[in-house]
Symmetry: C2
Subunit: 488 residues, 2 copies
């Protein structure tokens, strides 16, 4: 072992230790020696002065010097031999040379990066944004009371890892709410509380499929659904949507053999079509016959504006091959990040163990507050108020479109939910309209952006009315009309 | 089209509508007709009575009857022709025949189901459980104030989808805390707030790797790390841990070509080894040379019990090929579900778009409360209190082991964190000890359960002292001693 002079250590420390610093002397000493070792100023094999000599030289206590050496030893910066303390052999070249690690180029990251920027990146635009509920109308006072109630009733155990599948009180409240309002058949045990609908979709993919399996999505359809399937390395095939909903033929089943089908039957996103009961039954029958599973994403069906509420597919027949997905993002507010997945009864026992490995539970505070909010009746009252409000807002949007859009168009959807879909000629490119609208603080979405395989008729706007007040509809649509006129 | 007599509809409805039910007549009528159609009692092609006739027969208003038919039409249960209303052709066999959908058998679910039940399933046992902080010592009052502060300062916009990468106030608080306590070099922009460490690990896998890539894990090592890698369909290779941490040779790099390395350098889980700085630098240099990335899981390094805090690998050299992962589960409480990922500076711009596709933001309320708790100094004060407490608890556990375990053993780890690792002869099978201990309400973990490729020396117990009071240590370890004696 080389034994260069240890004077270099003392030279290094010539700049005196800072005796008024909040950083203790021992820590300062350690830090400076480490930096010198990593920088190569104290080469491997260098023998360090004995602690007594170092202490005298630096006018520090012997104990401080010893503790510093002990720490350097523990971290492996120095090694001890019978004569004392020696700088360890480190591969210090790591910090000097250019980092050769390749940038990440996984299929997923590049696939996702190639998507058009998602609407989340245009956070300043809020008017007419689809999927956002009436944020100013949310009963914050009642919610704060529910949060405070949950905080007061928290025990030390509430702080611990909770049930990975969610707080049972909330799972029970969800099960009974879904039975009443959506006709879903399930027990609390079948309900899994998730991080919004997105985690529910990811779970379906991970639990049901293997990479390379085929999945069907509605085209045009919900981006988040597609992302979840693509992230699972599935072969994602687009299916067109007709007046009765997702369209398929017997041949499709034989040749494409889907394992998973993603659909929004109560209110197709973005077209707003309601899947007919004939199509629902046919889809479930075919899925059963071919060993496939259906994800029923029931994202905004609580806001029904005309006719009776339409029962969920899940409850239409017994033992339906359906994973039912829902969210509180529209019924409460998006940043709550609470969604849920209803497992098929038959699948539930099989998936207990995998789910407990994949999920960690938690957010007990908000989950218990949500259960309280539901049990106290605030949730259904809020839904009823919002249903009336959204009906008015939709009506105002329809009138404004009729009066001010100024180009031939057709309006689709609107039997439920928070948005309308407006189609117009591809002579007015929807992407250009959306770009121009953003400059006026509006965030409609381009219908063409929802298509996997865009067709010329997929041109138009998806207009959200949930968070846009009645009195602003006229002026906003006038601006859209002006933009369209400018593109003619 | 067949036109069977419509008397069957009236027969079906002979049981009168319930006029005192909370369910409106129109909804009752719809429901009963739908059920009859789905059950096949009203066959396809059946012509329904005219609304006037139906209204008279059932003594309901004509409007109620019309609305019911309109709803049935909208859902596709019936079709309209020039003469009136006819039951639609449905594939009603879906509900009658046995469901042929195969149960799910994806690789992931079966792999996860084959794992031994995770400790989360033994929720009643709490004594000596690793990884749980002192739940009764958490300053609930201060936390409630921070939550209330966040609730009061919530605007309607706080309810909206937040920044997918997390609230900027929290990301900034994390970045400056990590700089001071862990020597991590990063800006707030590099910090991504996640659902605990587990989501951070999942993100690393999804952002950095492709299915089939090779990953290294420490063996024995953290189950959650292995799960995340396996869920990404990686080829997971175990690496042994020696006195300096994760052990590898130059040949390993050439023949195995890992893309991702999962490590816990500050306090190896479960062995408690501190990775030497030589090993750290060598690992980073090799990763840079071979285009690999390191996940540094720094799960409990805030609780340092002897010597100086050990700087994170991430800050040891500039431009380190490291994704730094941390969690508030140990420093705050598990059900908070807040973790974070620090992206390498160079990678951050590339990953903005994929991350915005994968994450939805939200939990703004807790994130803003956490930022407040940190800014007000409650967090560092709590950490300092807990550091003292855990030091006492560890000391009590060590004494108790010396006095009461009664079999030859060695204690590893303990320089930081919330657990000790105790090895003893494989003559006392650790799995049997753990099973017996659970009957006494204790939840130690079997060292052999952390191994991918178990070796005979991987036999012993991982004992958590975070949530176990000093005065109970003696009696608990006495019981363990008794169990061991019984197995001899």
């Amino acid at each position: 072992m080389k034994t260069p002079s240890s004077s270099s250590l003392l030279a290094l420390l010539e700049a005196p230790l800072d005796r008024v610093s909040a950083e203790p002397l021992q820590r300062q000493l350690c830090r400076r020696i480490k930096d010198a070792i990593v920088a190569g100023d104290l080469p491997a094999g260098l023998r360090l002065p004995a602690t007594r000599a170092l202490a005298q030289e630096l006018v520090i206590s012997r104990n401080t010097a010893s503790m510093a050496y002990e720490h350097l030893l523990a971290e492996g910066y120095v090694v001890a031999d019978r004569q004392g303390t020696v700088v360890a052999e480190l591969r210090t070249h790591a910090h000097t040379r250019t980092n050769a690690s390749s940038p990440p180029s996984p299929r997923l990251a590049s696939r996702l990066a190639s998507l058009r920027p998602s609407p989340a990146t245009t956070a300043d635009c809020t008017a007419l944004r689809p999927g956002v509920p009436a944020l100013t109308q949310f009963p914050q006072a009642h919610w704060r009371l529910a949060l405070a109630y949950a905080a007061r009733s928290a025990t030390p155990n509430t702080l611990n890892y909770g049930d990975p599948l969610g707080e049972l009180a909330l799972r029970a409240a969800i099960a009974s709410h879904l039975a009443v309002t959506r006709g879903v058949h399930c027990t609390a045990e079948q309900v899994v509380v998730t991080e919004g609908a997105q985690e529910a979709l990811n779970l379906c993919v991970r639990l049901i499929t293997n990479p390379g399996d085929t999945a069907w999505v509605e085209d045009p359809g919900y981006r988040g659904g597609k992302s979840a399937l693509q992230a699972g390395d599935l072969r994602v095939l687009p299916k067109r949507v007709d007046a009765e909903g997702l369209y398929f033929t017997a041949t499709d089943w034989r040749t494409e053999q889907p394992r998973l089908i993603y659909t929004t039957p109560s209110h197709q996103y973005p077209l707003g079509t309601v899947m007919s009961v004939a199509r629902r039954l046919a889809l479930m029958a075919a899925a059963q016959a071919h060993g496939a599973w259906i994800i029923e994403d029931d994202y905004d069906s609580e806001f029904r504006h005309s006719g009776e509420p339409i029962r969920a597919m899940q409850g239409l027949v017994s033992d339906a091959p359906v994973l039912y997905v829902g969210t509180f993002s529209k019924t409460m507010f998006p940043s709550l990040r609470l969604g849920f997945l209803v497992l098929p009864e038959r699948m539930q026992p099989l998936l207990q163990q995998p789910l407990r490995e994949l999920l960690r539970g938690g957010h007990s505070h908000e989950q218990l507050a949500m259960a309280r909010f539901m049990e106290a009746g605030h949730f259904v009252r809020h839904l009823a108020r919002m249903r009336r409000l959204y009906r008015e807002r939709q009506q105002a949007l329809r009138s404004a479109l009729g009066q001010h859009l100024g180009v031939p168009h057709s309006i689709e959807g609107g039997r439920s939910g928070l948005h309308l879909c407006v189609r117009f000629s591809a002579n007015y490119a929807d992407v250009a309209v959306v770009e121009a609208a953003q400059r006026y603080g509006m965030a409609p979405q381009a219908l063409s952006g929802f298509a996997l395989e865009p067709q010329t008729q997929d041109n138009g706007l998806v207009l959200g009315y949930g968070n846009t007040p009645v009195e602003t509809m006229g002026p906003l649509v006038k601006k859209l009309g002006k933009i369209l006129k400018g593109l003619a």
